[in-house]
């Protein structure tokens, strides 16, 4: 479970998140939409402390990330993250990208980590690419490897930061398919995306953010078909 309480984040004088309150229940899929600069990526990055939090609290499974005594590395092993730019490690083969964290952080023996890595690659349909270097993969393949890499730590929560925004249109589908499978398996997910179709189909709840605030949140059908706020209506009229 993720609890975000009165979250504030500023970059210098620029206040990016003004007062965010969200609770994500276990096995829930929450989709965050909004115009660029609305703070949605920053919000996501605060959930695993890739940004230092200016004010408020973020709790993962009841553990407060803003507490100085919290071992942030341990919490991060429970929270997988997928980036817009994939951020695969280019100097390591696909399988080594996946095996690294389980071996170094969880001290899992090499053979076991490799077996698990191959299993995850099979799951995302890329078993034959195990010994390839990331640079030889297409964007969609890279992102699927990135998802497998995050899953190798067996996280309880997965965060997706615009996972399909850097992809060619014909590769968006293969990544969304993997994400849909994850959602079906009951993974708790927070997804920042511009894919409204995905939000409608997979999301349990959609949050619309603008100007560092949550403007409106609701189940997808309600939010997309009967938005209450003018700002939401204006945004949806442009993207739908």
């Amino acid at each position: 479970m993720i609890q975000v309480k009165n979250l504030k984040k500023s970059f210098g004088k620029n206040e990016v998140l003004k007062d965010i309150n969200v609770t994500v229940k276990n096995q829930e899929v929450v989709v965050v939409i909004g115009p660029s600069g609305s703070g949605k990526s920053t919000f996501l990055r605060c959930i695993n402390m890739l940004e230092t939090i200016t004010g408020g609290h973020v709790l993962i499974e009841g553990i407060d990330l803003t507490d100085k005594n919290t071992d942030i590395n341990k919490v991060r092993t429970e929270v997988g993250m997928v980036f817009q730019q994939f951020n695969l490690f280019p100097h390591k083969k696909v399988i080594d990208n996946i095996m690294l964290a389980p071996m170094k952080v969880r001290n899992i023996p090499k053979e076991k980590a490799r077996a698990k890595g191959l299993e995850l690659l099979r799951k995302v349909g890329l078993e034959e690419k195990a010994d390839a270097f990331p640079d030889s993969l297409s964007g969609g393949q890279k992102q699927r490897v990135a998802i497998a890499r995050a899953l190798a730590m067996e996280p309880k929560i997965m965060l997706f930061d615009e996972p399909t925004s850097a992809l060619d249109p014909e590769m968006v589908g293969e990544v969304l398919e993997v994400m849909k499978d994850l959602a079906k398996e009951g993974m708790t997910m927070v997804v920042v995306t511009h894919e409204m179709g995905f939000a409608k189909e997979v999301g349990d709840r959609v949050i619309f953010m603008d100007g560092g605030l949550i403007v409106e949140e609701n189940v997808p059908v309600e939010l997309f078909d009967h938005p209450k706020e003018e700002r939401t209506k204006a945004f949806l009229s442009k993207v739908l």
């Binding site: 590395n73 951020n87 490690f89 270097f133 640079d135």
Partner: protein, 218 residues
């Protein structure tokens, strides 16, 4: 102009001894300078400006003053503080290492900072701590980018080790000067020394090219 091969033959054993010492000085200084340079470079990029400050001063001093001044200072002033008698080989290695470390620190800093921020974020998001992320993700990638500038620095270091002749460390250039003093000839000793330095620097370039190709991930 007649070229006296006979005195070259006579000095060949000395040139050989000198070359071995030049190689020794260079390898020792490259190793010490690289390790020290990594530490200084990491020190300089620390977020705490107060802690980073001494490293910046270090780099400023060793980059901003002539190597000849440093070598004389260390040989005649610094080493005698710690040993009864100064030692030219020790002073040469010390100076070359300290000097190279300043340049290598900047090469490390540039290399590390050239790696995309997303690499560190991805590593941290997987639960690796800062040291692990540096060791397994950032440094290996930075190192590959640092090979060409490091190669330059190592070549400069080999050549600058010739300054050790001035504090009577019996390396290659020392024997060149000795030969000139004995026979009042300039072409033979200095051309011979130049050719040997060229062979050393070319061999190093060759090795670094090989290393760079082996680390390619395409």
């Amino acid at each position: 102009m007649d070229f006296r091969w006979d005195i070259l033959v006579e000095y060949a054993p000395f040139f050989l001894k000198g070359t071995i010492l030049t190689i020794g000085l260079s390898i020792a200084s490259i190793l010490i300078g690289t390790i020290l340079g990594l530490l200084v470079g990491l020190g300089k990029i620390m977020k705490n400006k107060l802690l980073a400050w001494p490293f910046t001063i270090y780099i400023t001093f060793f980059r901003g003053t002539p190597l000849l001044v440093q070598i004389l200072l260390i040989h005649f002033a610094v080493v005698p503080l710690f040993l009864d008698k100064t030692n030219p080989i020790l002073a040469a290695i010390l100076t070359l290492s300290l000097n190279a470390a300043a340049y290598i620190a900047e090469i490390f800093r540039a290399g590390i900072q050239s790696i995309d921020r997303g690499q560190m974020e991805a590593a941290r998001s997987l639960g690796l701590n800062h040291v692990q992320a540096m060791r397994f993700i950032i440094l290996p990638q930075a190192f590959k980018r640092m090979i060409p500038p490091l190669g330059n620095e190592f070549i400069v270091l080999i050549k600058e080790s010739s300054l050790a002749a001035l504090i009577a460390a019996p390396e290659l250039m020392y024997w060149g000067r000795a030969m000139q003093g004995q026979y009042f000839r300039v072409w033979e000793p200095y051309i011979a020394a130049a050719v040997i330095y060229l062979v050393l620097t070319l061999s190093l370039s060759f090795l670094l090219n090989l290393l760079e190709r082996r680390l390619a991930t395409e």
